[in-house]
Subunit: 195 residues, 2 copies
DNA sequence: CTCATTTTGGAACAATTGTTCTGAAATGAG
DNA sequence: CTCATTTCAGAACAATTGTTCCAAAATGAG
């Protein structure tokens, strides 16, 4: 056998994720990544492949962390679908507002920067969008059945509506907007669907 | 006197705008710009300054074209504030959906890519956001007074809500989404504010 | 036509890009 | 300990980046 790695693989990947998250793909250089990850060029290429592969791995990591965060918000919100949905949306907004670097959402950033330039990123973003939409739709339908939401809208359409809104929040939040107006805007978005 | 320019200054700028719009700032090279604009390097630097200045000029051009488009949509919609608002929103969506390159909105792209990396772009985006918000707020307030919108929401908050939604539409539209669901999602967004 | 002035194309620039290579150091099973 | 195997640091690579420079061509007022 041979020597074992001197660094934690996912720990270094997380550091790369934060650089990509903040600067995007093209503005991030391998130099940036090497210094941020604290490993050598050789180790980087050996472990993660080239820049694009590292970026995709970082994006996957972001997605999984994001999903876990959503699950936690749901779990902490009792049985009401509306309360669960509201918790997910508010958690997303509050985390975005709390970020001192105002990086927004890495997935939305990736979509804006790369969706039409890179087929892999586009497909990954589409997959994420479908998953989030399905998640919203499930909660909306359950909320309608429990009488928390108006029965006269299509849950699929409303899910698209919320998906668009969340993406917008995350882009606009990169310009240091009024936090309270953002909170009230989100409340208004959900109110339009409520009884 | 001396020789006169062999190209139209705003025509070439418009070509640069389309390149930046599609590829973003960092992924666009001066080589790309020189070939797209059909002028020489020397003419480019002489007329527009460096890459950053050219980008800012292209962004300003986009903004002015966008404003003119909104004004046209309002002018063609009679006296109803709600109809005017709907026309603006729908025009934006339809134009985004119709773009074969799916480039979204250049302002949203600029915000996503550069707002936290470049102070100038951030301020410009903030200025645009304020202007659009004020425009929405004016229409919403007028619509409330005419009884077209519910009186129980704050026009400023609703303007923020719509602003976020429009930004989201434009990001999501870069992933080739279902056009009809996008249309119905927009209708639902306005419906939540309506009587 | 003259000539000062400007534009223009392309060569040239230094700096940075993403990636590969090399050789030495470190490791752990036998 | 042995040694095949892997990690690692940094030099080196070719390509591309944004920008400047220069000489030649073009222009229009006098």
């Amino acid at each position: 056998m041979a020597r074992s790695k001197a660094f934690d693989e996912v720990e270094a990947l997380e550091k790369a994720m934060h650089v990509f998250w903040k600067k995007g793909y093209h503005a991030t250089s391998m130099e940036d990544l090497v210094t941020a990850m604290g490993i050598s060029r050789a180790s980087l290429y050996d472990t993660y492949g080239d820049k694009k592969q590292l970026y995709m791995a970082a994006l996957k990591l972001f997605q999984s962390q994001s999903q876990r965060q959503n699950s936690r918000a749901v779990a902490a919100s009792g049985n009401s679908p509306k309360a669960q949905l509201m918790a997910v949306l508010q958690t997303n907004l509050e985390e975005t507002l709390a970020d001192p670097d105002q990086r927004g959402c890495m997935m939305a950033n990736a979509t804006a920067e790369l969706a039409i330039l890179d087929e892999d990123v586009c497909q990954f973003a589409q997959g994420n969008i479908c998953a989030v939409e399905a998640f919203f739709e499930k909660l909306l339908r359950a909320g309608q059945e429990q009488g928390e939401f108006r029965p006269d809208f299509d849950p699929g359409v409303a899910a698209t509506f919320l998906l668009n809104y969340v993406h917008g929040m995350r882009i606009v939040s990169k310009t240091k907007p009024d936090a309270d107006k953002m909170r009230m805007g989100l409340a208004l978005a959900v109110q339009g669907l409520s009884i």
